[in-house]
């Protein structure tokens, strides 16, 4: 039975993560209004299940609920969408990631002048599972093990997703850079 004390304890432990929760939702959903709704829902859910939190990594615990809630929404949208564009985005990863980092020529390294907006634009074109590991690694600074726990997949999967995400992102940026140079010439 929840009471004021439980609520205060929950707020003390979990409310500090609301910025991280919002940013994760934003990366996954790519829509500010959806992100806000999902984080709100996730916090209500988290409080309902607060008794299952036995200490430890409170951020990881909270973000797991956020990402699960966000995936539910993505599933619902996929089901309700006639266009099924999300589905395509999900599965395009395999084919797009034939490119591997090791096969890249040093000459292809894109210029470091890429703006944040250009990079964000490229990130938004990655499949959702790639964006997720990327966010947790690069923005939150999670270890492979922590990402595995938060996303509920094996550590090996985390590593391969991260690697494929980087390869794909590099590819997108290299292409963008080439187009830019072609336009100049």
């Amino acid at each position: 039975m929840a009471n004021k004390k439980d609520r205060q304890r929950f707020e003390r432990l979990m409310l500090v993560h609301h910025d991280a929760a919002y940013n994760l939702a934003l990366w996954l959903l790519r829509d500010a209004a959806d992100a806000e709704d999902i984080v709100q829902t996730a916090y209500m859910k988290a409080f309902d299940h607060f008794s299952s939190f036995h200490g430890g990594n409170s951020a990881g615990w909270m973000l797991t609920i956020v990402r699960n809630t966000a995936y539910n929404l993505l599933q619902t949208k996929k089901r309700n969408s006639n266009l099924v564009n999300f589905d395509e985005a999900l599965h395009s990863g395999d084919e797009l990631c034939q490119f591997s980092f090791g096969s890249m020529n040093p000459e292809d390294t894109y210029s470091a002048m890429m703006t944040g907006a250009q990079i964000m634009d490229a990130i938004e074109r990655l499949p959702v599972e790639f964006r997720e590991v990327f966010f947790l690694r690069e923005i939150e600074g999670y270890s492979y093990q922590e990402i595995a726990e938060t996303t509920q997949v094996p550590k090996g999967t985390v590593m391969s997703r991260l690697s494929r995400a980087r390869a794909q992102l590099q590819k997108l940026l290299v292409e963008k850079n080439r187009r830019k140079q072609a336009n100049v010439l």
Partner: protein, 255 residues
């Protein structure tokens, strides 16, 4: 070790996941190999660029809404929204078990959707607070349906769904955006369900169910045959989808 073997370790090195000895041999190689050094720097630049994009601050309303929501479901009286006490559901229990399902209007303008959603949530809470859940309390669809005659410029279809686990409780006339709407009330286990229906723009095409979330409630909205529906609930989305499917006269989506 070959360049290729080294390149396989770039990411683990970048992510701080290499053992100390691997780290050292990689650093030695990078210092002496131009090609690998260029490649590693490209990878590192990417990582740094992403880190620099950094954080967006959550809107202030988010933190506020979370805190308010938590007070509501922990049964504190800091806010006036302890409507589940009025319902006699939960009676001080930790979690508000009342479920609200609203079938209401879809706004075609995305920017207008939030305000409609807000108004629906507010309208529901209001109906609970004044103990004014129903104008006509009956599980008989043949009693509820004619009650709306003359009150609305359309005739909402009313079906008792008791055999599917959603008995009809009654009906009510409500207002959203100053427009009269039909409110049908259903029950599911301990959960109360409010269903609102409004006449939509008749020339607009039908819209498939779309789920959103607001203040801990789930909403599902759609448009069919010139009528706008919306469904809001804190029930799990799967059950809500089932009910939406029943009300829309379609089979529930497979999970």
């Amino acid at each position: 070790m070959s360049c290729e073997e080294m390149q396989h370790k770039f990411e683990a090195y970048l992510d701080g996941e290499l053992t100390l000895s691997d780290q050292r041999s990689l650093e030695e190689h990078l210092a002496g190999c131009n090609r690998c050094n260029t490649m590693y720097n490209s990878l590192r630049t990417l990582s740094v660029s992403i880190k620099n994009i950094g954080y967006t601050h959550a809107p202030a309303s988010l933190r506020r809404n979370i805190k308010r929501g938590l007070k509501e479901i922990s049964g504190e009286h800091a806010d006036a929204f302890h409507w589940y006490h009025l319902l006699g559901v939960g009676g001080g229990s930790a979690i508000a078990t009342a479920v609200v399902v609203w079938l209401v209007m879809i706004s075609t303008l995305p920017s207008a959707q939030t305000s409609v959603t807000d108004e629906l949530v507010a309208a529901h809470v209001r109906s609970m607070m004044v103990s004014h859940l129903t104008d006509v309390a009956s599980s008989d669809q043949h009693t509820v349906k004619p009650w709306f005659n003359g009150k609305l410029d359309f005739a909402p279809s009313v079906r008792d769904l008791r055999d599917r686990g959603y008995p009809l409780v009654g009906g009510r006339l409500d207002y959203v955006h100053q427009q009269p709407v039909a409110a049908l009330i259903y029950q599911h286990r301990a959960h109360v369900i409010n269903v609102f229906i409004r006449r939509g723009d008749t020339v607009a095409q039908a819209l498939p169910p779309r789920a959103t979330h607001q203040l801990g409630y789930n909403l599902i909205r759609w448009r069919d045959a010139g009528l706008d529906y919306a469904l809001v609930s804190d029930l799990n989305e799967k059950d809500l989808q089932e009910l939406a499917g029943l009300l829309a006269g379609q089979p529930a989506p497979k999970s």
